[in-house]
């Protein structure tokens, strides 16, 4: 029987990881700073506090999965950046008209796009998603607390938003099955209904 051969690369990986772990072992006993921790938690929770935001983020992921490649991977790359741009505008106090209306419309239009299995050209989908991403980001940006630790807040915020988006994609991958396509389209219609609810103030964020 031949002995198992371990590549030199694996040895290097192990040694590098060990070096890092030896350094990291002290972190467990380090004093934590409530500013940093609070900032991350606060940022992480922020996108999850509004149903109107959640459904739109999930709808983007659903639609991306439904459109398939390259939209499916283009949207998670582009979306956080565009949304952060909108967030930066909000943080800086740049006014945008009709933010809440556009957020409600995003749920409606993106939900209907998924519900009706719309497959426009990728640039149309990207422009639509990008347009709404700016308003979602702006709404978050204007609500960001002054006292938050900026960097840990931003990390928590972006990670939570990205995870919402990815959860939509994960759900959207069900389209490979016939029952999955029905489930995804129904979810799209549900999102559109929620959007209508927000637009006509039937649901409060």
């Amino acid at each position: 029987m031949n002995p198992k051969v371990v590549s030199p690369r694996s040895h290097l990986s192990f040694l590098l990881a060990l070096g890092l772990l030896l350094m990291m072992s002290h972190t467990a006993s380090a004093h934590s700073e409530t500013g940093g921790v609070g900032g991350f938690v606060s940022g992480f929770r922020h996108p999850l506090t509004g149903l109107d935001h959640i459904v739109a983020m999930v709808a983007v992921g659903l639609w991306g999965a439904y459109l398939g490649a390259p939209a499916m991977w283009l949207l998670p790359v582009v979306f956080p950046v565009v949304m952060a741009f909108g967030g930066a505008l909000g943080v800086l106090g740049v006014r945008l008209p009709g933010v809440e209306t556009c957020i409600a419309l995003s749920g409606i239009l993106l939900g209907l796009a998924v519900g009706f299995a719309a497959r426009p050209k990728i640039w149309i989908a990207a422009v639509l998603v990008g347009f709404f991403a700016i308003f979602h980001g702006h709404a978050h940006g204007t609500e960001l607390p002054n006292s938050a630790n900026p960097i840990t807040y931003a990390i928590g915020f972006v990670v939570a938003t990205g995870l919402l988006h990815l959860s939509g994609i994960a759900f959207g991958l069900l389209v490979r099955w016939p029952w999955g396509r029905v489930a995804v389209r129904l979810a799209g219609f549900a999102i559109a209904l929620i959007g209508f609810g927000f637009l006509f103030d039937l649901i409060k964020a």
């Binding site: 590098l16 998670p76 950046v81 840990t152 972006v158």
Partner: protein
Amino acid sequence: MALVFLCPPLAEAHMTVKGMNHFTSGALHPLMTPAHVLVLLSLGLCVGQHPPLRLKIPLSVFAAASAMALGWTMTGRIAGVHQAILASVALAAGAVVAIGKPLPVWVRAIFCGAGALAIGLDSGADAATGLAVVSTLLGTWLALMLCVLNGAHYVSLAAEKNKQWIHIGIRVAGSWIVAISLLVVAFALRKQGH
């Protein structure tokens, strides 16, 4: 690994941990400063994104620039680097990763140099004696080197698998870094305006 670095118990910059020697304290400094972690992550992604891994030039530039910057902090002429500058370096490197196009190695070296200078100048030691300062900065320098080396190495290992979802994941990580950095720069500009 990225999530471990970014996990919540990260303190503010320049915090020293009681009971720890200067070398270890210095080594932990970049790991406990979120802005530094962001830059180091972006550099690791940038260098390792497109295998085969070519470390000699970027790592040499990083080593020299960080040593120079850390040494400069001993003169006492620089108190630190504005968080917006660190975020801008991360933003640029993250953008390169998100776009996904392979870049010449000298361009990656430039990013490493910029990142090394920014982090190094922001890592001044607060120790009392000269020996303590040197010990702290040496620990910081070694930690910085290990972080970039590890980051680039593991990203390259993953990218070599040649699976589309891995390449997309790396680009998504780059876009997240861009998004975080954009918000940090906006925060910094808002703070300055008030």
